[in-house]
Structure formats: structure tokens, C-alpha cells
């Protein structure tokens, strides 16, 4: 129905020519795919770092007692700030701001600082996911571990976190899908990744087909992760059902 409306619209021949030009599609695809490798590198590096940093922030926020109040407060402030500020602003601030400081010994590439910005923003999101997981593990589990003489850290490491992480894999992967898309924002401070490459091609030809090709690249990458998430959710549900039956 929508397809019919679109195809029969007065502007369709024009749009078709501007967005769905098969020659330009195949012509621009190799360059875009090459540029897309930068997106892949960015999110692979960012994801590996985020998995660790987010866990550290989440554990900081879960520490009990008045002794750890400063750490908890720090964790809360961090998560509030980086979830509150638009990602694009954080990338601008770090990508342009930090190299401009001219401090000796730190990288001056905007790309590096853009990745740092993505890591900081997504660490805030993913730490909330981890934290929900940690809180979903019943306190009696920690009590059982501590009663065996395990230290607080050992109980966390061997009993609480393995259960917490297992429960949050689906929402965590969901955040990573968001991160993969947001690697396109890095283009706004200079590095030529797929989106930037498509802009260059569009500017040269006044044809929008490269945008479509780039969209396709992102989708091709997201679908496997989305299906993996679905599969993990389904598997967990099956397991829970199996566990409940006698």
C-alpha cells in the first residue's frame, strides 16, 4: 500500500533517479565498504573497552555501606552526566577540545578522542545494564558465598557477577547495536568513515544513492547481532521453563 503510494507519487521518477541509481550504487559500494571498515574498527575497539569499564562503574555503584559512598556518588554523577549530554556534543567536546589543549604526550588525533567519547557515553548506558543485572541477583546468593568464607570480592567475582552478566546479555547487545550506528557520528569531526565517504560522493555527483548503500552496510552489520540477541533471549526463556518443571 505504502509502496504503491510512493511509486505512484509525482516526484517518484526524480527520487528514483536520485536515490536508486544502480550504476552509482555498484560504483560507490567498494569505496564505501572500505570506509566502513573504519566504523567496524571503531566499534570493535570501543565495545571491548566498554565491556570492562562499564562493569567497573556498575560495581562501584553496587558497593554497600557508608565507606563506599564517595565511589557510589562518583558512579552516579558519571552515569547521569554521560547519559544526559547528547552523544554528538560529547564527541565535539572531546574530538575538538582535547587535542586543542596541546598537552604533551596525549594523542592529538580527533579520531582517538571521538572513540574515547563514544566509550564514555556507552559506558554510562552499559553500566546501568550491568547494575540491573547485579541487583537482580538475590542477596542470599552473596550471603551463601560469604558464609563459605569467601571475601566480598571473591563472592562478587565467582557468584554474583557470573549470574548478573548472563542475565543482561540481551539488553547489553541492544546497546551495542546503538553504538554501531553511532560510529557514524565520528564523521562530524573529520575522520572519513562510511557516512562521511557517502557524503563526499553525494557532494561530487548530487546523487543520493551512496547514502542508501551506506544504510545497507549498517543494516547488514546490525542484523546478525539483532538475531543473536533474539536467539539468546529465546534460549534463556527455554532454560527457565526447563528449570521450573520438576
Amino acid at each position: 500500500m505504502i509502496a504503491v503510494v510512493v511509486v505512484s507519487s509525482p516526484g517518484w521518477p526524480e527520487v528514483k533517479r536520485a536515490f536508486f541509481d544502480p550504476d552509482r550504487f555498484t560504483g560507490s559500494f567498494p569505496d564505501l565498504a572500505r570506509a566502513f571498515l573504519l566504523n567496524v574498527r571503531i566499534f570493535l575497539i570501543a565495545e571491548a573497552i566498554i565491556l570492562v569499564t562499564a562493569l567497573v562503574v556498575a560495581v562501584m555503584r553496587s558497593l554497600p555501606g557508608p565507606v563506599f559512598f564517595p565511589l557510589r556518588a562518583l558512579g552516579v554523577a558519571y552515569a547521569d552526566f554521560f547519559r544526559g549530554v547528547p552523544t554528538i556534543l560529547v564527541i565535539y567536546l572531546f574530538g575538538f577540545g582535547v587535542p586543542a589543549l596541546g598537552i604533551a604526550g596525549i594523542p592529538r588525533s580527533p579520531l582517538v578522542w571521538a572513540v574515547v567519547a563514544l566509550v564514555l557515553v556507552y559506558t554510562a548506558y552499559v553500566s546501568e545494564v550491568y547494575r540491573a543485572g547485579i541487583e537482580s541477583v538475590h542477596p542470599s546468593q552473596e550471603a551463601a558465598a560469604r558464609s563459605l568464607g569467601l571475601t566480598r570480592f571473591q563472592a562478587l567475582r565467582h557468584v554474583v557477577l557470573p549470574q548478573a552478566v548472563r542475565r543482561v546479555v540481551p539488553p547489553l547487545l541492544n546497546d551495542f547495536i546503538g553504538l554501531q550506528k553511532d560510529t557514524a557520528l565520528v564523521a562530524l569531526i573529520g575522520p572519513v568513515e562510511a557516512f562521511r565517504q557517502s557524503q563526499i560522493k553525494v557532494a561530487a555527483t548530487f546523487n543520493f544513492t551512496p547514502y542508501l548503500a551506506t544504510a545497507l552496510l549498517f543494516i547488514l552489520l546490525t542484523i546478525p547481532l539483532a538475531r543473536l540477541t533474539d536467539w539468546l533471549v529465546a534460549r534463556d526463556r527455554r532454560r527457565q521453563l526447563a528449570g521450573r518443571s520438576p
Partner: protein
């Protein structure tokens, strides 16, 4: 017989509610003491305090003369000497039976994996769980899970075992296998402090029975005397309710 556990003037409040109002209790080595009393009388809290799972407000607890409640003691080291088994089993669901049992010995005692597994296999075999060693807890019946939980505590070779209403979450037909195991431990000389609603079990297994009421030990003595000739009116009323409910 030498003294293993001594509790002096133990007090504990949750917010405004005082759950333990000055408990004095001593256990000799190889002694089995059952704590009876209505729900909310403080039995579970008392056990959790002895295992230092709850910070206490007042009083002192000694294990073989060493004060557990002193400032600056290493609670992890002391907890290794006292085992506790919970009403809801609290097995680690992400670990096999074997890993559940070896976690404490390997991580807290620093035993090599092989030695810990030998110790676990020996205990599992002794309590009829050898064929379950590689199963996960959710594949076991409640009675099997609770037996594994007891084995997990025993693998630490504790000097004292605390049992917190370990049969209360079980289907009636599964209670027997767990009680049989505890009886066997009692015969083997394990010192135990047991909170229980199983009055006939307490009567035949305990060396001494303490009746808790409102966070204090109202009456204590040999089981025969407590069950057949209680001196306190409240003990009598409690036992009458138990009899009326068909549990004795």
C-alpha cells in the same frame, strides 16, 4: 566436654524492632542444640549473627575462646570455621554440584582443585549424591538440593554447623532424607545449632532444646523435659499449637 561456642548478651535490632533481646547460650563440642519457637521469635537471626552475616548491636560471641565479635577480626577466616545451611538452599545456580561444593575449599581455603574435588566426591558419595556431581541445581529435587547445600557446608570441615529451618521449604515427602542426613551428622559428632519446626526430630536428635520467644531464650533443657514437662506457660501454649497442627 570442652566449650565450642559461647554467646553472651547478644542483642540485635532491625530498625526499631528488637529481634534478639539478650541471648546467652553455650554449646559444648559434639553437642546438638535445637532452637524452637514461633516464626519471628529470632531463631534465624540468631544463626545469622553467629555466622557474622548480620552485624550485632551488643554482646559477644566466642568460638573456642576466640572472640568473633571483637574489633578488627578477620571475619572471612572465622566464617570458614562455621558452616551454615539455609532454608532456601541458596545453591549457586550457575555452577554444577561439584563446583558448588568445591568453591569454598578452593577459594577460601586455598585447596588445590584436585584435592577439593576428591574431598567433594567423597562427601557426595557418602550422602548418596555421587551421580549428581555434574548436574546443575535446577535439575535436582528440593531434598537433593538441600543435601548438596549441607555437603557444600561440610566440605569446609567446619567446627560448627548452623542449620536454619533446612526442611521448611521442602515438600513433606522430601523432609525425611534431609533429616536422616542430619541425624547421621549428629551421630558422627558434629556440633550443630539447629533452628527447626520439626519437633519430633528435635526431640530425638537434640541434646538440648531452647525455646525462643520474643527474641529471648525463655526455657531450655533436655528435649524430654521441654516437650513433656515445660515449666513456662508460653512454651506449653506453643507446644499445644504444634500438637494441634499435627506436627508432634
Amino acid at each position: 566436654m570442652s566449650e565450642l561456642l559461647r554467646i553472651e548478651g547478644l542483642r540485635k535490632s532491625f530498625g526499631r524492632e528488637e529481634v534478639l533481646r539478650g541471648i546467652d547460650l553455650a554449646l559444648a563440642e559434639h553437642e546438638v542444640v535445637c532452637l524452637i519457637g514461633a516464626s519471628g521469635s529470632g531463631k534465624s537471626t540468631l544463626l545469622r549473627c553467629v555466622n557474622l552475616l548480620e552485624p550485632i548491636d551488643e554482646g559477644r560471641i566466642f568460638l573456642k575462646g576466640e572472640e568473633l565479635t571483637a574489633r578488627g577480626v578477620d571475619v572471612n577466616r572465622l566464617r570458614r570455621r562455621v558452616g551454615i545451611v539455609f532454608q532456601a538452599f541458596n545453591l549457586f545456580p550457575h555452577m554444577s554440584v561439584l563446583r558448588n561444593v568445591t568453591l569454598g575449599p578452593t577459594k577460601a581455603l586455598g585447596l588445590p582443585r584436585k584435592a577439593a574435588e576428591e574431598r567433594a566426591d567423597e562427601l557426595l558419595a557418602r550422602f548418596g549424591l555421587a551421580d549428581k556431581r555434574d548436574e546443575y541445581p535446577d535439575r535436582l529435587s528440593g531434598g537433593q538440593q538441600q543435601r548438596v547445600a549441607i555437603v557444600r557446608a561440610l566440605a569446609m570441615r567446619p567446627e560448627l554447623l548452623l542449620l536454619d529451618e533446612v526442611t521448611s521449604a521442602l515438600d513433606p515427602e522430601l523432609v525425611g532424607e534431609v533429616l536422616a542426613l542430619i541425624r547421621e551428622l549428629a551421630q558422627g559428632g558434629m556440633t550443630m545449632l539447629i533452628a527447626t519446626h520439626e519437633m519430633s526430630f528435635a526431640r530425638e536428635t537434640a541434646d538440648r532444646v531452647c525455646f525462643l520467644d520474643g527474641g529471648a531464650i525463655l526455657e531450655e533443657g533436655p528435649p524430654d523435659r521441654i516437650f513433656s514437662a515445660p515449666t513456662e506457660a508460653r512454651t506449653r501454649r506453643f507446644l499445644q499449637r504444634i500438637v494441634a497442627a499435627g506436627r508432634l
